[in-house]
Symmetry: C2
Subunit: 330 residues, 2 copies
C-alpha cells in the first residue's frame, strides 16, 4: 500500500473528463479546485452534479474563472480537450510552482511534450520529471453547465512522462483509488499511449471518415474491417519506430473485444456529430508524424488523417457560418 | 480513311452521355433510335435539346419506351449509369441480333464482362468479338427531361473488348468522326480503361471520401495529395497484375494536368452532392477485386472503397427516407 498524495489539487479543463475525476476526488475529501470557463457561474451557484452508473452525487465546488485566481497547486490535472492545447502554456504559468506535479488525462500523443515545452519556457528545470500521463478509460459527457453524465467505466492507466514509476507516481494512483477509481501504474507512458491508439486510430478515425460508422458498422463491412486491421498494424509499426514494441496479437484481441461493444460510438464520432472540434492532431496527426520521422510507411493512417482533418475543418466552417447567420438573425 | 459504320443505331441509357452522342450522330444524319424511361414523353413531343460549347442544337428523336419496341439494332451504344447494370441483360435481349455490335461508353471496369456474360446466356456464341468499350472524355449533364448541357471536351477512346482493333472497330471510330467527335482507336481496351482509372480512382474517390474535395482541395492538402499519388501507384500496380503495364511517370503527368484543372469536381462528387447513386463498383470495387485476385496490396484503394461505398449507401437511405416523408406529406 503506497502513501496517498495529499495537497492542493487544481483541475484544468473541468468538462466530462476533468469534471468527473475532480468531483470524485472532492467527494472523497481531497482539496480540489476547479478552473472553469463557460460553466463558472452555474457551478459556483449550484455546484457540480454527476449522474453516474456508480451512483449520482453533487458537490459544492471550489471554482475559479482564471488560472491566476486558481494559483499554485501541488497537483494539476489536465482534462482539457487537446484542441485547446494552444492555451496550455498560459493556463499552466500561474498554477505550476517549483514542485507541482502535472498529470494530463488527455487523448493521444504529444500532450506531455507540449506541457514540458511550456514549463521549460517558463523556467522550470527538469520539468519532465514532474509530468505524468494518464489514460482514462471512461464514457462521460457534459450534459449541461455543471452536469456530467458518467455512463461506463472510469479506470485510469498512469505513468511518468520520462523514466519509470516512482513513489510519487504511486501516491497519485493511490489518490484516485481513495476516490474509488481503479488506477494502475505502468513503467512506460509511451507504451500505454500507443496501445490505446491501436484502438483509437481505426475506430475514432473511421468513425468520422466513414460517415457515422460506429464500431459494428466498421466490423461488418469487409473493406472497412480490413482497413481497421490494417490501421492497427500500421499503428503497431509506428509504435515500434517510436521505441515501443507491441505484441501484434493485440490486433486480434482488440477486434474481438470491439465485437462485444456493439454499435459503440467513439468520442471523435460524437464530437463530429455535435459540431465540436476533433482531436485530430493528437490522435491521428502526431502518430503519423512519428511514423514518418521513423521512416515507416503508414498509407492508411495518412489517408485517414487527410480525410478526418478535412471533415473537421469543414465542420468548423459550418459552425462559424451558423453562428454568423444566427447573429444576423437576431 | 476507314469506311464509316452505317446501320440502325440504338442508344440505351440516353442521359448526359448516351443522349449527347446519340444526338450528335442523329444530327449528322445517322439512323439513331433512343431508348428512354423518364424522359420518353418529353422527348417524343419536343425532341432532344443539347446546349453545347460546340454550338446548341435540337433534334427530333426516334424514341422508344421499352427495349422490345426498340428491337434489333446493328450497333447498340450503352450510356447507362453502371449503377443500372443489373438491368443490362433484360435491355440487351431484344436489341442484340446475331451480328449486332455493342459499344459501352460506361465508366470503370467490368462492364464489357457483364455484357459478354448477358449475351452468352442469351445464346450468342463468341459475343466478345462484337463488344467494344469506349472511354468518353466529356463533361455533360442532363439538366431537365430532354435537355443536355455539354460543357467541355467530348472525345472518345475506343477499343475492342478482346483482341486488337479490326476494320469494324475503325468503322465505328469513323462514325463518331463523321459527327464531329474526335475518336481514337486503341489495341488494348484494358490499357485505356486502367489509364483512365489512374485518375478516376483518386479524384472521384477522394472527391466523395474527403467531403466535397474538388481536385484542388486534394492537391493542396499534404496528406490527401500524398494519398492521391499513392492511389495512382496502387492503380498502376493493380493494372500490372491485370496484365497492363503502365508507365509510372503517368502519375506525375496526371498530377501536373490536374493542377491545371483548378477546382474541378468529379462526376462521382457531383452525383453524391445531388443524391444520385455512385458508380462505386466499376470505379473502385472491381479494380480492388482485380488487385486482390492478383495478390497485390492496395490498402488505400481498399479503404477508399469501404468509405465511399458506405457514404453512397447512407446517401441512398437518406434519399429513400426523403421520398417516404414527401409521400406522407402529400
Amino acid at each position: 500500500m503506497s502513501n496517498c498524495f495529499s495537497g492542493r489539487i487544481g483541475i484544468i479543463g473541468a468538462g466530462a473528463l476533468g469534471g468527473f475525476y475532480g468531483a470524485r476526488l472532492a467527494r472523497a475529501g481531497h482539496d480540489v479546485h476547479f478552473l472553469m470557463r463557460s460553466d463558472y457561474e452555474t457551478v459556483r451557484e449550484n455546484g457540480l452534479r454527476v449522474n453516474s452508473i456508480d451512483g449520482d452525487f453533487s458537490i459544492r465546488a471550489e471554482v475559479y474563472s482564471s488560472a491566476g485566481e486558481l494559483g499554485p497547486c501541488d497537483l494539476v490535472i489536465i482534462g482539457l480537450k487537446t484542441t485547446q492545447n494552444h492555451a496550455l502554456a498560459e493556463l499552466l504559468a500561474p498554477v505550476v510552482g517549483p514542485r507541482t506535479l502535472v498529470l494530463t488525462l488527455q487523448n493521444g500523443l504529444g500532450n506531455e511534450e507540449q506541457i514540458a515545452e511550456a514549463l521549460h519556457q517558463q523556467g522550470h528545470r527538469g520539468a519532465e520529471e514532474r509530468i505524468l500521463g494518464g489514460i482514462a478509460f471512461i464514457c462521460s459527457n457534459r450534459m449541461a453547465p455543471g452536469v456530467i453524465n458518467h455512463t461506463a467505466h472510469g479506470w485510469i492507466r498512469l505513468a511518468k512522462f520520462r523514466g519509470s514509476a516512482e513513489e510519487r507516481t504511486h501516491a497519485i494512483a493511490e489518490l484516485f483509488r481513495s476516490a474509488g477509481i481503479e488506477c494502475e501504474v505502468f513503467d512506460s507512458l509511451a507504451r500505454i499511449r500507443w496501445e490505446k491508439l491501436v484502438w483509437n486510430i481505426p475506430f475514432n478515425g473511421l468513425g468520422v471518415a466513414a460517415e457515422e460508422a460506429h464500431s459494428a458498422a466498421v466490423l461488418d463491412d469487409d473493406a472497412l474491417h480490413a482497413t481497421a486491421r490494417g490501421l492497427m498494424e500500421e499503428t503497431i509499426a509506428a509504435a515500434r519506430a517510436d521505441g515501443v514494441e507491441i505484441d501484434p496479437e493485440l490486433t486480434d484481441r482488440m477486434i474481438a473485444s470491439t465485437y462485444n461493444m456493439g454499435d459503440y460510438k467513439s468520442s471523435m464520432q460524437i464530437d463530429f456529430a455535435q459540431g465540436r472540434p476533433l482531436e485530430v492532431e493528437t490522435i491521428l496527426g502526431e502518430p503519423l508524424r512519428r511514423a514518418q520521422r521513423g521512416g515507416i510507411a503508414t498509407p492508411r493512417l495518412e489517408m485517414l488523417y487527410g480525410i478526418v482533418r478535412r471533415r473537421d475543418h469543414l465542420n468548423r466552417l459550418r459552425e462559424v457560418a451558423g453562428e454568423i447567420l444566427a447573429e444576423r438573425g437576431k
